[in-house]
Symmetry: C2
């Protein structure tokens, strides 16, 4: 299925699940949508925190369309699942957010680590949550973000268990794609970043960690949702963790 | 002289000249200062045009201080020379802009190709405007920028004549530093980007082009000034072309 064909299946709500492993070779994107009055602070926040919030595209105010990531895209319906936060509190999840769209909304599309998973698999590295057909495990951390205007918060990370001898290659592969979070931010010491229980992720699902495997942590595009909870803007739309937009951007164009 | 010592000489207006070749090893920065009401559009404009407008730091509104580029910095006096544009028209040049500072101003510090000139010289490549002790030649081009909100315009480029056999090394060296404009955008064909006379630059000074040398063009941090002239915001402060801030940021930290 091409990315455009896949987006049509989400647009009609026939696909409502996490997107890891789908449309290999094409970049996936996280979402945060904010009123224009909060857009400058968030844009600066992203610029000051490029590891967790690497911007792939910013929409025109009010528009549900994109230019760079896929011309045939409806931001309000082409993610499998959305969340709406009011005053920093998760209000509900939705399969589309057309009824909540407003002329003053600006959409920020953010790089996603799902984009490099097929690069890792090509390098012979198993991606456990794809094997186990669950959502990637994601964790809140004690890593403070650089604040900007009203926005502040802590980094969210995704975790993949990897054999020690494969970790150098995992670092090398992901270091080449800073636009989708780049190299890991921590390897092997979850306690050092405030994670107490790898079997109870804050977002997504737990995965098996086998003997000889080390937990490897990458900055995660759910970070803006943690920032929304900490900052409490009056209104924000995001994707549901793991439920991404699949874009027309080939992953190989993200390699620097 | 350290960057901080150099900034003190500009702060007291004892130094008023172009900064090419000064404080080797440390990044230099271009400047544009805009009222907050234009800051979102400009920040998005920079994001959409990273070759000519690579952001090194964005100040807090109203502040004349920086964090990342040098704690002991006064944005309003540490550049050797400034320009003020009103409604897109150059009003005048100033040795400092303290008298024009306002609480609603936001400063954008932008990477400068002077930062990679000592890397080029280390690679055995002569930098002609340094040899001839003049300002680097800069040219308007026909290359349209990606617009954002009210901001639009054409790219400005700097030009260095380089021997054909040294150009591959010049590309290799500068490609590693995208934060200060990265690799050249044109080599050898000024007419293709709308430049008709290499001996009459739009900014800076002409330099000698010797037999066997090819003009090499890099995106230039004067581009925001061309955008100001095209966009006509009611107020903007910039550096005078070639008259940069010398920062505490080592150039080697710009290498990716």
């Amino acid at each position: 299925m091409t990315p455009a064909e896949f987006r049509h299946t989400t647009r009609t709500n026939t696909f409502q699940s996490p997107t890891a492993g789908l449309c290999p070779g094409f970049a996936q994107a996280n979402l945060i949508v904010l009123p224009k009055k909060d857009a400058y602070d968030f844009l600066l926040f992203a610029l000051r925190n490029p590891k967790p919030i690497p911007l792939l595209e910013v929409s025109e105010m009010g528009s549900r369309q994109l230019n760079k990531l896929g011309l045939d895209t409806d931001i309000a319906s082409d993610f499998p699942k959305y969340r709406i936060y009011r005053d920093g509190v998760l209000a509900s999840e939705y399969l589309d957010v057309e009824d909540y769209w407003r002329d003053d909304l600006v959409s920020f599309l953010i790089g996603c680590s799902f984009s490099f998973e097929d690069m890792l698999m090509d390098a012979g590295i198993e991606i456990r949550h794809i094997t186990e057909k669950v959502n990637v495990p994601m964790f809140n951390t004690n890593i403070l973000l650089n604040p900007a205007g009203k926005f502040k918060g802590n980094m969210v990370v995704s975790m993949r268990p990897i054999k020690g001898e494969q970790i150098p290659e995992a670092v090398r592969v992901t270091n080449r794609v800073p636009g989708v979070h780049g190299a890991p931010i921590q390897i092997g010491d979850p306690a050092a970043i405030g994670i107490t229980d790898l079997m109870h992720p804050d977002f997504g699902d737990a995965v098996t960690i086998k003997e000889g495997e080390i937990p490897v942590f990458w900055a995660c595009g759910v970070t803006p949702q943690a920032a929304v909870m900490a900052t409490k803007p009056d209104f924000a739309i995001t994707h549901a963790p793991g439920h991404m937009l699949i874009t027309d951007l080939p992953n190989k164009e993200l390699i620097v």
